[in-house]
């Protein structure tokens, strides 16, 4: 899978400049990634103050590691990998791993029929989706973020998360189904439907 590896020229340039000690370039690189790292880490650790600390640690590691960035992966995969590593280490250190909710009805194929979501307005739907995401397992939530928001290839996700590519594909599939189930439930409750 190499169709997306080289598609990050500007970020590579900023990282190379950072490796040479250019703090302004590093600041621009940070601004490209602040919201992404913050959101990704906060989804893992669930605590805003700890997320702040981990973002600082992540970017400090990026600053120090920039000269050693080999370029085999995208810059985003590399940076998110550092963030993930630090977030998971922090969670383990605090012995507060998010509870794993069993994947419900993983073998079902969702109905394509219209549901209550169609009658919820857009802005409220965004809020409900956020609630539904919070109800997912951390693995499903991470899979959807990396596939749909970060738009990493399935090979990149496999490398980042440390699972086989086929597991990535099926995990995203089931995560999408689980998200829809939660969304439908929340929308029904919102609309008072039974």
């Amino acid at each position: 899978m190499d169709n997306a590896v080289t598609d990050d020229g500007p970020e590579r340039e900023l990282l190379a400049q950072s490796a040479a000690g250019d703090r302004e370039a590093f600041k621009r690189l940070y601004r490209c990634y602040e919201s992404r790292i913050y959101g990704y880490v906060r989804n893992i650790v669930g605590d805003a103050a700890l997320t702040d600390d981990l973002v600082v640690e992540t970017m400090t590691a990026v600053w120090h590691g920039a000269p050693r960035f080999g370029g085999a992966s995208r810059v985003s995969t590399w940076i998110l990998g550092i963030a993930r590593h630090k977030a998971i280490d922090a969670v383990r250190a605090r012995a507060r791993l998010p509870p794993l909710v069993p994947v419900a009805a993983a073998g079902e194929v969702e109905s394509m029929a219209p549901g209550p979501l169609e009658i919820v307005d857009g802005e409220r739907l965004t809020a409900l989706t956020a609630q539904a995401l919070a109800l997912l397992t951390s693995e499903h939530r991470e899979a959807l973020r990396l596939a749909f928001f970060e738009e990493l290839s399935y090979d990149e996700i496999a490398t980042l998360v440390g699972i086989p590519p086929n597991t990535v594909k099926s995990r995203v599939f089931y995560a999408k189904q689980a998200l829809k189930r939660h969304l439908d439930s929340l929308a029904r409750a919102e609309c008072g439907a039974v």
Partner: protein, 208 residues
């Protein structure tokens, strides 16, 4: 706990690629295969719509997540400035403690081994031929005094034959210090050659 890799009945393998088909991150081969499948599979066409919808909802929801605090950038830049000023401060204390324990363990092990070796060698000394553990000198140095009648040409010829070079002298007594490349037995050979040149060399001794 990861989801099962088995697909539920009725779900085609191409359906699993739809998120990346939409993102444009499939290989050309995969993209063409999915495109061809979608042209004839109604269930996967519906699945594509579902994936599109999920993708939009997830992107909108995650984009609306709380942002980082405004001062976080300043904290990051201060952190790397601190790192540059005091790089030792970044050492993880736990890791540093582990490294110190490891270093101490290695040091004690080395001392123990060396002590055992010393004790063994006291009981079983090495043969004289290999008693010296010093580094072999890169060259030999000899002090020689030339015959008053020795010509410059004869001196040059002698030194060239030994690959020797003058490193000091002549002093007030006419003594030279000459350096000769070292090789096994070179000391004795060099002295022998020099002593055989009585017409050129009046006196020679090996310097240590």
């Amino acid at each position: 706990m990861s989801g099962p890799e088995e697909l539920p009945p009725g779900v085609h393998p191409q359906a699993l690629l739809l998120p990346w088909f939409l993102a444009g991150t499939l290989t050309e081969f995969e993209r063409e295969a999915v495109t061809a499948h979608l042209a004839t599979c109604r269930s996967c066409q519906l699945e594509l719509e579902a994936v599109q919808n999920t993708r939009r909802l997830v992107r909108e929801a995650l984009a609306a997540e709380p942002a980082a605090r405004p001062d976080l950038e300043a904290r990051v830049m201060q952190a790397i400035t601190r790192e540059a000023a005091a790089p030792a401060a970044v050492v993880n204390p736990m890791r540093a403690a582990r490294l110190w324990r490891l270093a101490a363990s290695v040091a004690f092990a080395t001392i123990a081994v060396e002590t055992a070796m010393i004790a063994f060698r006291t009981e079983h000394p090495l043969p004289v031929a290999v008693a010296s553990r010093g580094l072999a000198p890169e060259s030999l140095r000899v002090e020689l005094t030339l015959q008053p009648a020795a010509t410059e040409a004869s001196m040059r010829a002698l030194f060239l034959s030994l690959h020797a070079r003058i490193v000091d002298g002549p002093d007030a007594s006419g003594r030279y210090v000459v350096e000769i490349p070292s090789r096994p037995g070179a000391g004795a050979d060099a002295l022998a050659v020099l002593r055989q040149q009585g017409g050129v060399v009046r006196d020679v001794r090996l310097l240590r």
